[in-house]
């Protein structure tokens, strides 16, 4: 059963060096606060899993948390490249970064298989592309009824999944809405799961299109106001597009990045240790 704990406590309890960690949130509700807490706690040798490793993983990679990245699209949306990720791949700075690369459809189905307790998923994909030659979690299966050959991808079962949501109730049931991405699948596929939330409320009144993560599939819930910024939380705050653009200059330069990193390491935001 999840407890509502502080974010530092939750990360300390759930994320260990060497873990496979998935921070999910597709363009929306990206768990930045949790990523920064992982940076502050100096976790190392993580395998970072995420469909769209954007700024949050660029930051964690630059901070030296990751030894491997499992992903399907790595960029700063609408701005350009992830320079810390590029630097780690090209020069091994600060540590070398291994890649395991899929398509969106492949990653989504890997989470579905993981959430479903299956070792693999079947999809129409990858045929004719160069990815299978470089990614050993892509294979094929033959349909036992039609003889057709289809792509197979290995299930993803992270050690820890972390998502951000709008709110939780006091029992630790979590509710999120808007673009809901693969958060449910990531949580259900993982061995341990943490949800950060904007707020805790007495009752989760139903919201159209909402996904509910029941308390018994979460190990911890932590309050992290604005915990998805600079991405957005539908109904709470908008995306900070300027911050995404500003990241380009910060991340291009190791020294500017180091300065940014010091501010993150030295200044935990107020909200994350209360309640």
């Amino acid at each position: 059963m999840p407890k509502i704990v502080s974010l530092p406590q939750a990360v300390s309890d759930l994320v260990r060096d060497g873990d496979t960690v998935a921070l999910e949130g597709f363009t929306h509700l990206i768990p930045f606060a949790a990523g920064h807490e992982i940076i502050r706690q100096r976790r190392r040798d993580l395998t970072l899993v995420r469909m769209t490793p954007d700024l949050v993983y660029d930051q964690m990679i630059g901070a030296g948390c990751a030894r491997k990245l499992v992903f399907s699209w790595g960029g700063n949306p609408g701005v350009g490249s992830l320079h810390r990720m590029r630097d780690a791949i090209a020069t091994g700075w600060p540590v070398p970064l291994e890649l395991e690369e899929h398509s969106h459809a492949g990653m989504a189905n890997r989470y579905v298989a993981g959430a479903s307790g299956l070792p693999f998923a079947v999809l129409r994909g990858y045929a004719g592309t160069d990815l299978p030659a470089h990614t050993d979690t892509i294979s094929t299966v033959v349909c036992p009824f039609t003889g057709e050959r289809l792509a197979a991808v290995a299930a993803l079962n992270p050690d820890v999944a972390i998502v951000h949501a709008q709110r939780a109730d006091r029992d630790g049931n979590v509710q999120l809405w808007g673009i809901t991405g693969v958060q449910k699948e990531a949580v259900l596929a993982a061995d341990r799961a943490l949800a950060t939330v904007e707020e805790v409320v007495d009752e989760l009144t139903p919201v159209p299109g909402a996904v509910v993560l029941p308390r018994w599939v979460l190990n911890a819930v932590a309050v992290a106001p604005r915990g998805a910024a600079p991405s957005y939380a539908h109904g709470y705050y908008d995306r900070d597009n300027a911050a995404y653009r500003a990241w380009d200059a910060i991340s291009r330069d190791r020294e500017k990045f180091a300065a940014w990193l010091r501010t993150i390491e030295e200044n935990a935001p107020e909200g994350i240790v209360s309640e």
């Binding site: 929306h28 129409r124 673009i179």
Partner: protein
Amino acid sequence: MTETQPLVADSSGATWTADEMMSIAAARELRDGQACFVGIGLPSTAANLARRLHAPGLVLIYESGTLDTRPAELPLSIGDGVLAETALSVVGVPEVFNYWLQPGRIDVGFLSGAQLDRLGNINTTVIGEYDEPDVRLPGSGGAPEIAASCRQVIVVMRHRARAFVDQVDFVTSVGQGTGPGDRERLGLRGAGPVRVITDLGVLEPDPETAELVLTALHPGVTVEQARAETGWDLEIVEELLVRPRRPRVSWRRCARCGRWARERPGRAPPRRRGPAGRARARALRLARLHAGDVAPAGRAADRAVPGDPRGPPRARRLAGAARAVPDGRPRR
């Protein structure tokens, strides 16, 4: 995409950028009632422009899971909150790929890339070797399955020699693969890229060889320019189209959608601060271009060079494409 150099000027002195030319050309490919899988940037501009003008029933589907979304303003990302707010339905990412894209329910998908080769294969992964890349690119995203499963793919990219290559360094998304018949062998059920819209003109696969050939040029662009920016020996179709320079109009009815577009001579685009104001100004510019660009008889007004009694080849090819009636049902 921040390149905005003027490419075309009309009689009022207003200019159109390369990206705007491409957006307009891409918008024209979309027909009312189609379902379109939209990526951010030019495709989103094009799709929203088409929906607001000649194709009000166009169904926009974003990979973030928003189905039939009707944003009042251009979204800034594929996961913009406005997409969820104005969608008929929001579904999870696994569902959008498995239930909506994969079965072939989508009529048109837009793609772009860092490299495109003569067979329409697209690279968004690496320039150079995979393990020691010269340039590491973002990777696959939704592109491989868009390329595989949409009934038609339209590629929109700047026409530059470094991008239009003989063979891509990495096949992220399959065009015609290794040549005619390869898509069928691979089990890819969509037609693949049927049109490549660039800032110089339009390329389409040759029905025999599957190689991309030049079928149209934007006004003011020469065959030599297109050849110079293409990394293979670019063939030119016999009936090469040149898009007409567009006349100036005050009021003009769109021949496709029947709507009237207003254009006041000499009126400057509204100037407002902030991205919303800029987006509005841009939308108006594009609407003017769209309206002014459409001649009364639609595509038939495209000027064939030299003339062909059967009518423009693009019209003929589109007639073939139109046989695949879009109805949202999966193909088997």
